[in-house]
């Protein structure tokens, strides 16, 4: 994978995670299953990508985490969006829309 692709995907992953967490707090596995579900399997988030992304977003202050109990009474770490995260979601969304718009215009033009 080249550097560019990673970066692009990383940015996209952030957006997907933020969007998913908008619905409410969720643990790691929940996030990845939810993304698979919404995208009909287009994106399957690997654990090795998910946790570093969560970690990074936590350090940026977009999300917060706390230990809790899962449905099956298992211990799990739950993530939720912060105020900064909401804002970030807005900017990321706007950015994404611009990219999509730009790309589709390019594609239409040629």
């Amino acid at each position: 994978m080249t550097q560019e692709q990673t970066n692009l995907l990383q940015g996209t992953l952030d957006l997907l995670i933020l969007k998913t967490l908008r619905l409410g707090e969720m643990h790691g596995l929940g996030i990845s299953r939810r993304i698979e579900q919404i995208t009909h399997g287009t994106f399957s988030v690997k654990t090795g990508s998910l946790f570093p992304a969560l970690r990074r977003m936590q350090e940026e202050g977009w999300i917060k985490s706390a230990w809790g109990e899962s449905e099956a009474n298992r211990k799990a770490k739950y993530y939720r969006l912060t105020k900064a995260g909401m804002k970030q979601l807005e900017t990321e969304t706007a950015k994404w829309e611009r990219i999509v718009l730009g790309i589709s215009r390019t594609l239409e033009a040629s």
């Binding site: 550097q3 560019e4 970066n7 692009l8 990383q10 940015g11 643990h27 790691g28 596995l29 690997k46 654990t47 090795g48 990508s49 946790f51 570093p52 992304a53 970690r55 990074r56 936590q58 350090e59 940026e60 202050g61 899962s70 099956a72 298992r74 211990k75 799990a76 770490k77 900064a84 900017t91 706007a94 950015k95 611009r98 990219i99 730009g102």
Partner: protein, 911 residues
């Protein structure tokens, strides 16, 4: 990258800066937490991954899998607990810090493991870096900080008149300087000073102290604030109205007045006149003539009291050295143009006072000011720095070749790391960090070495009548540059091995045998290139060293025009002791009578200077029958000498006669000139009988003497006029006894002192030394250049020898098997010897060729500093080439002989 660009697109507004700032803060907090809560964080990561795993298993089991099946599937999906943990760690803020720390720890472990190798490399680097820092410490103490105690000298310029010369005279009279200061728009101030010895009298042991008469603005313009009391007040500098006040140097305050805190306001005696101490100068400050140490400052209005003149009253006496402070934004050239214009106006108003003086004024920044020691040092120090730079380059090449050879031994280690998934970047980083560690260790060792060597410049100063001073030490600037140079060196020598190792083909390295892998290195052009570079650079340094040494030899062997052996010098100064013109001359006469009667004395004379110690004076002369060119300076070296001077110095008088006891104040005023004088001003004419006017007195030339060198052995002979001491007598100059002895001049020192003290027990006698010792000052700069270029050269040769030995020995060891096969197939020992030596020979030859070409281009830059040898001196080139060849081949001889002792059976069984 794509995302970044997209973000830039999106954030075209002003939001970006705010977000970046809050983001930065957030990240910084995270970084801090990550660093401080390391263990807790590790636990959290582990717990979360484990929790995730159990959630996964539970999920699989809910989907109907059996427990063990579910666990396997979960592990598959997770993709390795440790990997995930590592990936999270890498995402953590400050992950680079972790990697850096890990790389550093690893580098430290590696260097400890190979402590011998590390020691050698650090030593080589330390020597290479220390050569640079030593020269830098001198440059910093002389050229960059020309006035100790004054931080900013970049807007200060020195003022010189006439052609650039190594020994310029003061440019202005007090009245000229005063007028110029009033008129100038380009200078925020002009200060004037005249420095010479004074005597601190009225204390237990009178002492000669170098001091200066200065204009009142001296301290203020330099920005020097006395640590006690004050500097001069403006009115204290006004001639006729001046006050007897003195600012004393820190050393005088400490040594003579025990650091008395109440010293301000007390009265001290200088040249037997009372002065009130108004201030104590800061410790560092020693006046503003680079390299000369002044320790007393008196307002120049006191000239009559100190030295018995009234020079401030005369417009025609140019006695003040001048420093100007440029106004902000004014260039040196603008100021120069303005001063010339203003001076032209002054000359037009007072033509009589400026008849003999050159009118052209030029300004110099202090680093190359012709006043003081910088005028000489600015030519040789940058050159030495260049040579030190070459030495460091060589050291880098040397270390690079050592590291390359060693990196082969580490190929497996690196291949394994690459195989385990380390990126090329990581390997390069690891190598560079190891190099940086070596570089910084070398730099640290270099600083320790430089602590000693920075003082070595002073060791070249012979006993002298000049108050030479040099306070080279490791200052902050030198320290920073050392660190910078160490890092730069590390990058230079570390880059090659790093890039080379990181680009190895992993598969083949892991599969192949160690020996066959190294065979690729044995053909390595890179390694050969490094050896060739070392040999050629060492040749360059040795050629420079050779040229300097031969110059010095030529200078020392050159005929100075006098015979230095068996001559004892001793100086005294009469005016501080209260002598007048008449009593002084009488005293001198007694001294000559008494000394010539001593047993072991062949002849004795006096002079107001001594040869090759920068002590000869000069005067503006008018010569009969010679019309100066426009702007030609008629300032000519002028020596005042006693009877029998030429006989005592063994400088032959080629026509006419020398001075005798009969040339007294009552007889006709006479002079002797040297041949250079005649050649320059009266070519082809008979000089005897011609008239020379000096300061209103007309002297008739009665003799022509052979040329003698009085300033530097390497400078061309210049015109000199000699005047007899009883006629041109001045008690204000040092009088130096020149005593020709039959035996060792040193043994006469005590009887000379006794004789003088019989005549006057109070009169201090100073600088009692053989001429052969004091005249070392005349070769000072040549000796500095030859010594340092020489040691750089020898060091370079040693390094190059180690370099070629290392590489040839290494490749030979790697070829043990091949040599074994050759010998098993019947190769002669001689053949094997030639095989190995041949490799060394080819490298040496290439190095010699490249080095000679390099030297031929570079030595041209030294031309101006050489004396008696050409920059392409064949003898130097040939002998240095031969030396390098012999040393290099000797270095190769060791591995070659070892190769002939290879036992084919052992060699083949090996591996």
């Amino acid at each position: 990258m794509g995302a970044d660009r997209a973000r830039d697109l999106a954030d075209a507004g002003g939001v970006v800066s705010k977000r970046v700032r809050s983001g930065l803060l957030q990240r910084a907090t995270s970084l801090l937490r990550n660093v401080t809560h390391r263990e807790q964080d590790e636990r959290e990561i582990a717990e979360e991954v484990n929790a995730h795993l159990s959630l996964l298993i539970a999920e699989k089991m809910r989907a109907g899998m059996k427990p063990d099946e579910a666990e396997r599937a979960a592990h598959m999906e997770l993709g390795g607990v440790e990997q995930v943990k590592e990936q999270v760690r890498e995402a953590r803020a400050g992950a680079w810090l972790d990697t850096l720390a890990r790389d550093c720890r690893f580098a430290l472990r590696m260097s400890r493991k190979n402590s011998g190798f590390t020691a050698v490399v650090v030593l080589i680097l330390a020597l290479g870096i220390a050569a640079n820092t030593t020269v830098l410490s001198w440059i910093s103490a002389t050229l960059l900080n020309p006035i100790p105690g004054v931080a900013h000298t970049s807007d200060l310029v020195t003022v010189m008149r006439g052609d650039r010369s190594d020994h310029p005279t003061p440019p202005f009279s007090y009245l000229d300087l005063h007028d110029l200061s009033e008129l100038t728009q380009t200078f925020s101030g002009l200060l004037g000073y005249h420095d010479d010895y004074m005597s601190l009298t009225g204390v237990a042991k009178p002492e000669r102290i170098y001091g200066a008469l200065t204009t009142a603005n001296y301290f203020d313009l330099l920005g020097v604030h006395p640590i006690l009391g004050r500097a001069f007040l403006p009115e204290e500098g006004t001639p006729g109205a001046g006050a007897a006040v003195v600012v004393i140097g820190y050393a005088v305050w400490q040594n003579h007045f025990a650091g008395d805190p109440q010293i301000v306001g007390k009265t001290i005696q200088i040249n037997r006149h009372p002065y009130t101490v108004v201030g104590v100068a800061p410790r560092d400050f020693t006046g503003c003539a680079p390299g000369l140490r002044a320790e007393l400052w008196i307002a120049l209005s006191m000239d009559r009291d100190v030295w018995g003149f009234n020079r401030p009253d005369y417009r025609g006496i140019f006695w003040l050295n001048v420093l100007g402070k440029l106004r902000p934004g004014v260039t040196k050239n603008q100021a120069q143009a303005e001063l010339n214009l203003l001076m032209q106006g002054i000359v037009e108003r007072f033509p009589e006072d400026h008849r003999d003086s050159p009118s052209e004024i030029s300004l110099d920044p202090l680093w190359r000011s012709p006043f003081g020691i910088n005028g000489y040092l600015y030519k040789i120090l940058p050159m030495l720095l260049g040579l030190a730079g070459v030495l460091l380059l060589l050291a880098c090449a040397n270390v690079a070749s050592l590291l390359l050879v060693r990196s082969v031994g580490r190929r497996r280690e690196i291949a394994i790391r690459l195989g385990m998934g380390a990126s090329r970047k990581q390997i390069v980083r690891q190598f560079l960090i190891e190099s940086l560690l070596l570089g910084l260790l070398g730099g640290t060792a270099a600083i320790v070495i430089t602590k000693w060597t920075s003082h070595s410049l002073v060791a070249f100063f012979p006993p002298s009548t000049l108050p030479l001073t040099n306070d080279a030490h490791i200052d902050q600037g030198v320290l920073f540059v050392t660190i910078g140079v160490s890092i730069l060196a590390a990058i230079i020598f570390g880059m090659l091995p790093a890039l080379r190792s990181s680009s190895m083909p992993v598969q083949s390295v892991l599969k192949e045998e160690a020996t066959s892998v190294s065979l690729t290195l044995h053909k390595s052009r890179l390694l050969s290139g490094l050896v060739v570079a070392q040999i050629s650079l060492s040749l360059v340094l040795l050629v420079c060293a050779g040229l300097f040494t031969r110059s010095l030899q030529k200078a020392q062997q050159s005929d100075p025009g006098f015979e230095a052996s068996h001559l004892l010098l001793a100086s005294y100064e009469l005016s501080p002791a209260g002598y007048t013109r008449a009593t002084g001359a009488a005293f001198d006469r007694q001294v000559l009578d008494r000394l010539s009667a001593l047993p072991g004395v062949e002849s004795v004379s006096l002079a107001d200077f001594s040869p090759l110690s920068f002590s000869i004076h000069s005067d503006y002369l008018q010569l009969e029958g010679y019309v100066p060119q426009p702007h030609e300076s008629m300032e000519i070296s002028r020596a005042i000498v006693g009877p029998n001077y030429f006989r005592t110095l063994r400088t032959s008088v080629v026509s006419g006669r020398e001075f005798t006891e009969g040339d007294t104040a009552d007889s006709q005023l006479v002079a002797v000139v040297n041949q250079a004088f005649v050649d320059r001003y009266w070519p082809g004419e008979n000089a005897i009988g011609k008239q020379v006017t000096d300061g209103g007195d007309r002297f008739t030339v009665v003799g022509v003497a052979r040329n003698a060198k009085y300033r530097l052995l390497t400078s061309p002979t210049e015109p000199v006029i000699y005047l007899p001491s009883y006629q041109a007598y001045s008690p204000t100059h040092d009088t130096t006894i020149h005593l020709r002895t039959t035996g060792d001049p040193r043994t006469m020192a005590s009887s000379v002192e006794e004789t003088i003290h019989q005549l006057n027990p109070e009169l201090p006698l100073f600088n009692v030394n053989p001429l052969s010792v004091t005249m070392q000052l005349g070769t000072l700069f040549g000796r500095v250049a030859a010594t340092f270029a020489g040691s750089f050269g020898l060091l370079a040769m040693l390094l190059a020898a180690v370099g070629i030995y290392g590489v040839v020995a290494y490749t030979t060891r790697q070829r043990t098997r091949e040599i074994g096969i050759r010998m098993a197939l019947g190769a002669e020992k001689g053949g094997v010897y030639r095989l190995v030596l041949g490799q060394g020979f080819r490298l040496t030859l290439a190095g010699l060729l490249v080095g000679t070409a390099l030297s031929l281009t570079l030595t041209r830059l030294l031309k101006a500093q050489l004396f008696g040898v050409s920059a392409t001196d064949a003898i130097t080139f040939a002998s240095v080439g031969l030396l390098v060849a012999v040393v290099a081949l000797l270095a190769c001889h060791i591995p070659a002989r070892r190769a002939t002792r290879v036992d084919p059976m052992v060699a083949l069984r090996h591996e």
